[in-house]
């Protein structure tokens, strides 16, 4: 059974067809790259899979369960989480608190238990902060725990976003252009981190423009062009595919 299965996804905004009948599946434990020129529909596809948009047509199946149309807040508990192209941090909260929000779906205490500091709420709070700190250590920014997230440099913010997503204990993580805005040293660190995440048994899907990174770390690649799936395959197959080269370089008819 594939981890994630997309079945005939179509998205129409007004009169514009952003995605047309896109189908592919992602196997457990793989790092899969979704690539394509600007406007190919990659981010739209991510927004559909993660419940932010509702698709016009088609099905999203996650671990055998049809999750089409489920709202975003339900997916974290099911084991799917994402990061954003323009990092979306909770800017007025500390770095540690950001990761602590990542543990929201895995904790229970409600409004009353929290207000009255019930013993189980205190215990849960302690577990939350300990585990959050471990995730900061995992991405290597634990020394920044007390800093307000809005003051982080971009690269560190990216790491924080990944730590926050990992704190959900996902089985599938979708990263929207994780290397965008990173320098080459940071990108190398990112590649290593993504492999580390995969080694934890988490399936990774990334939309990415940095071809070097994609070819380096991905097991499989799906190519989108103008809202349709062009092809899919291993990095080697994709590199040698004339259609892909034409799509990227443009071909005159």
């Amino acid at each position: 059974m594939p981890m994630l299965e997309l079945n005939g996804i179509t998205q129409i905004f007004g009169g514009v067809t952003a995605l047309k009948d896109v189908s592919f599946s992602i196997s457990e434990g793989d790092i899969t790259g979704v690539i394509g020129p600007n406007g190919a529909g990659k981010t739209t596809l991510f927004n559909i899979v993660t419940g932010i948009y509702k698709q016009t047509n088609g099905k999203v199946i996650f671990e055998g369960k049809d999750i089409s149309g489920l709202p975003a807040e339900r997916l974290a508990a099911l084991g799917m989480v994402r990061t954003f192209q323009n990092i979306e941090l909770f800017g007025n909260m500390t770095v540690l608190e950001n990761v602590m929000v990542g543990l929201h779906s895995r904790s229970r205490s409600g409004l009353f238990a929290c207000s009255f500091k019930m013993p189980w709420a205190i215990r849960e709070e302690r577990t939350i902060s300990e585990e959050a700190l471990e995730w900061l250590r995992f991405v290597g920014i634990e020394e920044l725990a007390k800093i307000e997230a809005g003051n982080l440099p971009f690269g560190r913010g990216r790491m924080l976003e990944i730590a926050r997503a990992m704190a959900c204990k996902p089985r599938l993580i979708l990263m929207d252009e994780p290397a965008a805005g990173l320098n080459s040293k940071e990108t190398l660190g990112l590649a290593e981190l993504i492999r580390k995440i995969r080694d934890l048994g988490v399936t990774v899907v990334l939309v990415e423009h940095d071809m070097e990174l994609v070819m380096d770390i991905c097991d499989r690649i799906v190519v989108l062009n103008l809202g349709e799936k062009l092809t899919e395959g291993t990095p080697r197959e994709i590199q040698e595919n004339p259609e892909v080269i034409a799509a990227y370089l443009g071909d005159d008819e």
Binding site: T50, I52, P71, A72, E73, R74, L75, A76, A77, V81, R82, F84, E88, L89, F90, G91, N92, M93, E97, M100, V101, G102, L103, H104, S105, R106, S107, S109, G110, L111, C114, S115, F116, K117, A121, E124, E125, I128, E148, R164, A165, C168
Partner: protein, 294 residues
């Protein structure tokens, strides 16, 4: 003494609004409505129907919270200016209700004959006794609100405030939490209203009008958004200031307006963040930016 009773009631109201606005980031320009509903409901139940005041307070608070919960679902779907307009409308509707439903509320001439609160043979009928009564409620409210603010729920509120989509992706049910904090906020206002009714024994619509909602908003902003202690500072300043400005007669409003402008320009983080910063500047060691969280 009387002023301190009002500082207490205003602190309760400011904390209520701050939980909604400062933490969860949802504006309300009609919060005086919940304050008024609490006051009128407690007043009517005790004076007209001879209910026990404590029971009336409890029932009123639950009903107001439930009503807020139900209307919260459609209203809190709105964002920004639209939410401001909708809550403004809510405040105006409730205000008209107090004025026009003369048979029940007494209309513009007010509603009198509300009994004082009582525990056994202790009747809260003097400013001195009321002072203790109100401040016990304030302390309880501060304690519970600070606990809440520093918990996973408080973090979820702030996450919604900063980046709602990201919060939802982390599993935060933004829609439900917004409605919950709206209901909680309304409940605190309702309790403050009940206390107000029993302390004053007489209530009239102007105490729950649009200008009161705006005054509450001012307290929260001046004190510091997203700080429970800030709400106390804001309530303290805006409740006591008019007393000190009596000698200026009608011109106090000029001073008041000027202060607001100066505050928002020079202390955008409110008193709770601005005062420590000021002290640091005076000591000449402006090392790093001050942060106040509570």
């Amino acid at each position: 003494m009387n002023v301190l009773v009002f500082v207490g009631i205003h602190t309760l109201l400011a904390i209520a609004l701050n939980l909604l606005l400062g933490y969860a980031g949802q504006i309300s320009l009609g919060h005086a409505a919940f304050f008024g509903l609490g006051a009128y409901s407690s007043g009517i139940l005790t004076a007209t129907y001879s209910w026990n005041p404590w029971l009336a307070m409890l029932v009123t608070a639950s009903v107001v919270a439930s009503v807020a919960f139900v209307i919260g679902f459609p209203i809190l779907k709105l964002k920004g200016h639209y939410l401001a307009m909708a809550t403004l409308g809510l405040g105006i509707i409730v205000y008209i209700l107090f004025n026009e439903w003369v048979d029940v509320t007494g209309g513009p001439s007010g509603f009198s004959g509300i009994p004082n609160l009582q525990i056994g043979s202790l009747i809260f009928d003097t400013d001195f006794k009321n002072y203790y009564l109100i401040w016990i409620f304030v302390l309880g409210c501060v304690l519970l609100s600070v606990n809440l603010a520093n918990s996973r729920i408080g973090r979820a509120f702030r996450a919604i405030h900063d980046a709602e989509t990201a919060a939802r992706v982390m599993g935060v049910n933004a829609r439900l939490l917004k409605v919950q904090v709206f209901a909680l906020s309304a409940m605190i206002c309702s309790i403050a209203g009940s206390l107000y009714a029993h302390v004053m024994t007489f209530i009239a619509p102007p105490s729950f009008g649009f200008n009161i909602s705006i005054e509450l908003l001012t307290m929260v902003v001046i004190g510091g958004l997203g700080s429970i202690y800030g709400s106390f500072l804001g309530a303290l300043l805006l409740t006591t200031l008019p007393e000190f400005l009596r000698f200026m007669n009608d011109y106090d409003i000029v001073f008041y307006g000027g202060l607001l402008m100066v505050m928002t320009i020079f202390m955008p983080g409110g008193l709770v963040r601005g005062i420590p910063q000021l002290f640091r500047k005076i000591r000449g060691s402006g090392k790093d930016k001050g942060n106040a969280n509570a």
